[in-house]
């Protein structure tokens, strides 16, 4: 009997389900492997924990769910909306006594049924398995099921939108795949492009618009968690569960937009790559821009050598123009369904060339002031500095606690930018000149990586990474960036920061590594061992004494001195390598007061430092003597290369 409702047609719904039964039944059979595997696993487990099923449900949602829905949604959409892509089939469907709304709602119902039938059937089987073993976990089951429904709405909504925008069955999966990962792709391309031109700009993926690529965002932000409530009680939760609901709303919105598009979609667009006329210029320019940014950069890399001094404006402009024009030409051919599109392509390619050139010029000459940007001191919340100097680690400073250090960092940043042309040229010649056994500066030169990361009051971050040539003469020049970096790295504040001193930590435990062969003991009787262990093991009070002595040495410059030329020893640096003949010690630090927010989360609970003793560390020496280390063990030695402190999690 004909359907009585005007927005849903039972006959069509049944027809879609019966036509494509191999698809949804096949997927259901595949999904039903999950309960089967679980059943076999549970049969072999001797100690079945009550949270086991909960962890299975949540893991399926967080790990398998997005990928499953991503792939299966496009298959469902291709099945349900496939009639739109052939003039014959679209003629039949649009001749039927149904409104477009009815066709759309019925199609959506069928598509979502394709997606959810396997979930419901496999889920029910899984639940029955859990019920059989008495560990059904209904709450986690319900939560995970709801999450999968949200994913189905999201992915099917987007697949439907793509289906409405195109009139070609081949273009549909391409649009869907590109659309799903476009934001991440653009982020990577732009990061790479800007870092090609901008001095010091990081080429890393920013993730700023990652939410527009739901699969990546969900995998990065939604996870199955098992919370330990007590030894044998655990709760399975889904971290970032709300994200799925937000995406579900987005999916519903996409379906609404698709419905509006379908109502005004022309039947004659069957076979067109882009079914709406107003979208065709947009499609052509988006394809051209993507081609310019992606293949333009590939061409550039193929035909030019990577340079530290930045990309060549002319070459990059040519590569982008060529790639953009080819992209526009291909897009135009697809839209017009003809190879003879030269006349229209010339105009579009011309526009693309101008756009590519404008982008290259704007970036090369830093129209937006990105390259030369140094944040105002008043806007800085914190600043991290990291350089590949041995054992330096990342040093964090705040304007309130370390005004002098922040000023030094800003001055360093300014000097680096002032000397950027010199730095670029020197870096470009570095490897060439080293090949001929000479430094680019006519002396021994090393390249030093330096990262500056500002956290600003508006919540944004400014990160710059520089590769800096360092030489003895540059270090000796008080006005050079090398000297500024040297002063900063070797400042008392930096040295104290390396051992977390003044950051609210207190030692709770310590251990002195005294070489046994240096001890004045021959037989190593029980009492000798007791004495030895008494020296080595430190109580919190003893550790505090040693920690204070270390801080005194660091403050005075007797420990922690760094050589920017690659760890070559400087007289009085106080840094030695802990080897078999030397004394070293290890301190475990825990917060004794509120740790500043500036500290990394992982270090708020716990930190550990390893220090190699050196003879010039006089305060430390005295503390070690007071703690019972024999004076003979602490005999003065020649300073060795490198060394210092190592801070581990």
């Amino acid at each position: 009997m004909p359907s009585k409702t005007s927005f849903f047609n039972t006959t069509l719904y049944k027809k879609l389900l019966s036509r494509f039964w191999p698809m949804w039944l096949g997927i259901t059979a595949l999904a039903s492997l999950a309960p089967l595997i679980t059943l076999l696993e549970l049969m072999h487990l001797t100690d079945i924990q009550h949270w086991y099923m909960g962890s299975i449900y949540t893991s399926i949602l967080a790990t398998g769910g997005p990928a499953f829905m991503l792939v299966y949604s496009i298959l469902a959409a291709m099945a349900v909306w496939g009639y739109l892509y052939s003039p014959r089939s679209v003629s039949l469907m649009h001749t039927l006594p149904m409104t477009r709304t009815c066709l759309f709602v019925t199609g959506c119902a069928a598509g979502l049924s394709f997606l959810l039938l396997p979930v419901v059937i496999a889920g029910a089987l899984l639940f029955l398995v859990g019920l059989f073993f008495g560990i059904a976990a209904p709450l986690a089951f319900f939560q995970s099921g709801l999450g999968l429904i949200c994913l189905a709405v999201l992915y099917f909504g987007f697949a439907t939108l793509c289906a409405m925008v195109t009139g070609s069955l081949l273009a549909l999966p391409v649009f869907y795949a590109v659309g799903n990962f476009l934001a991440v792709l653009l982020d990577l391309l732009l990061a790479n492009f800007t870092s090609s031109f901008f001095f010091g700009v990081n080429a890393a993926y920013s993730g700023a618009v990652e939410w527009l690529s739901p699969t990546v965002y969900i995998y990065n932000n939604v996870a199955a968690k098992t919370v330990f409530i007590s030894d044998d009680v655990r709760q399975c939760t889904i971290q970032g569960y709300h994200i799925l609901f937000l995406y579900c709303l987005a999916g519903a919105l996409l379906l609404a937009v698709s419905w509006a598009l379908y109502r005004c979609r022309s039947s004659e667009s069957a076979g067109d790559v882009v079914s709406f006329r107003f979208l065709r210029p947009l499609f052509k320019f988006v394809v051209a821009l993507l081609a310019a940014f992606s293949f333009g950069q590939v061409l550039y890399l193929l035909f030019t050598a990577v340079s530290v001094s930045g990309a060549s404006l002319v070459r990059m402009g040519v590569c982008m123009t060529v790639a953009g024009a080819v992209g526009f030409w291909i897009a135009d051919m697809l839209v017009q369904k003809s190879l003879r599109v030269w006349r229209t392509t010339v105009a579009g390619a011309g526009i693309m060339a101008v756009v590519a050139l404008v982008i290259c010029l704007a970036v090369r000459f830093d129209v937006f002031g990105i390259e030369d940007r140094i944040p105002d001191r008043a806007d800085i919340v914190r600043v991290d500095i990291n350089a590949d100097v041995s054992y330096l680690g990342t040093l964090t400073f705040t304007p309130d606690a370390d005004p002098e250090a922040v000023d030094q960092i800003l001055a360093l940043h300014r000097k680096i930018l002032d000397d950027k042309d010199f730095i670029r040229q020197t870096c470009d010649h570095y490897y060439y000149d080293r090949y001929y056994d000479r430094g680019p500066l006519g002396e021994e030169t090393s390249l030093l990586y330096c990262r500056l990361a500002y956290e600003l009051k508006d919540g944004s971050q400014l990160t710059r990474i520089y590769t800096l040539p360092i030489s003895r003469s540059l270090l000796a020049d008080a006005n050079s960036y090398a000297a500024a970096l040297d002063v900063l790295v070797n400042s008392p504040a930096s040295r104290l920061r390396q051992v977390y001193y003044g950051q609210g930590y207190a030692p709770t435990w310590g251990y002195i590594n005294v070489p046994q062969d240096e001890m004045d003991m021959e037989n190593w009787s029980d009492s000798d061992w007791e004495r030895y262990n008494d020296i080595c093991d430190l109580s919190s009070d003893e550790a505090a004494v040693l920690y204070a002595a270390l801080a005194e040495d660091a403050q005075a410059g007797r420990w922690g001195q760094k050589d920017l030329m690659g760890g070559r020893g400087i007289e009085g640096s106080g840094s030695t390598v802990s080897n078999g003949g030397n004394v070293s010690f290890e301190l475990e630090l825990r917060p004794s007061a509120a740790v500043p927010d500036t500290e990394e989360p992982w270090s708020r609970d716990y930190a550990r430092i390893f220090i190699a003793y050196a003879p010039e560390m006089t305060a430390t020496r005295q503390a070690l003597l007071d703690l019972g280390v024999p004076p003979a063990v602490l005999k003065p030695e020649e300073p060795a290369l490198g060394g210092g402190s190592e801070i581990v999690d």
């Binding site: 003629s91 039949l92 009815c102």
Partner: protein, 299 residues
Amino acid sequence: MIEVRELTKTFDGFKALDSASITVPDGAIYGLVGPNGAGKSTLIRHLTGIYRPDSGVCLAGGEPIYENPAAKARIAAIPDDWYYFPSATIRDMMRFYRGMYPTFDEKRYEKFKDVFQLPEKAVIRRMSKGMQKQAAFWLAMCCRPDYLILDEPVDGLDPVMRRQVWSLMMGDVSEHGTTVLVSSHNLRELEDVCDHVGILHKGRVLLERSLSDLQDNIVKVQTVFQPGTVPELPRDLEILHTSCIGRVYTYIIRGNGETVGQKLAACQPVMIDILPLSLEEIFIYELGGEQYAVKDILF
């Protein structure tokens, strides 16, 4: 009644229909003819609710067709390239049509089994073109439509089945008052069944009349004049075409046969013979006036 008023449709700058207007009276069999690319199929796709008009209206029983399920439920269409689901049998398609059309007549479907004699459970895709066409007729006629819209309906059917199909349709027209609009290039066949004709050319309707009016309004005159004389014909005669073989002059003249005969009698011909035109001749001579004539090309 099917009405199309000032219908215009453009595809990527090409005007497929240009203010086309036709009227198909209830219970009429309307032949829509025109050269290739005239816009016949485009017009039919508007009448079946597939295309949305750029401007103008298409009405069936006074109701707009596009996005109107009530109006579309009264229309059955057989396009030139009928679509069926790839693995469907005739029975599968029957179930689909039955669910879609409220007036679907299952008893008629059973009755027509004997008429069409098609393997009901065979996959349509594997049938010949003619058999597929028969299946389309079978299902369309079981929908008991008030309006039957056909695009090249008997193309691919054998002569017996053609006659069978036309007979069934004529039966529906006479018994149920079904209105039929049929587009075809087979003018000989249309002439036998149609009572109204519309000629479409370059998206415009050139003329639209009942077939008898059309045939009354254009005549073929064969005449022989006195030896050595070719008198000047009256200026008010609208002569569409002239040819001469020996002393026999053949004229295609627009007008009533009787009136044309009286006017030509004034020229004192030796012999005059006034003949009605076939639909095919009308089509050719009407379009000849629209620069769509057979070209005399020598190679």
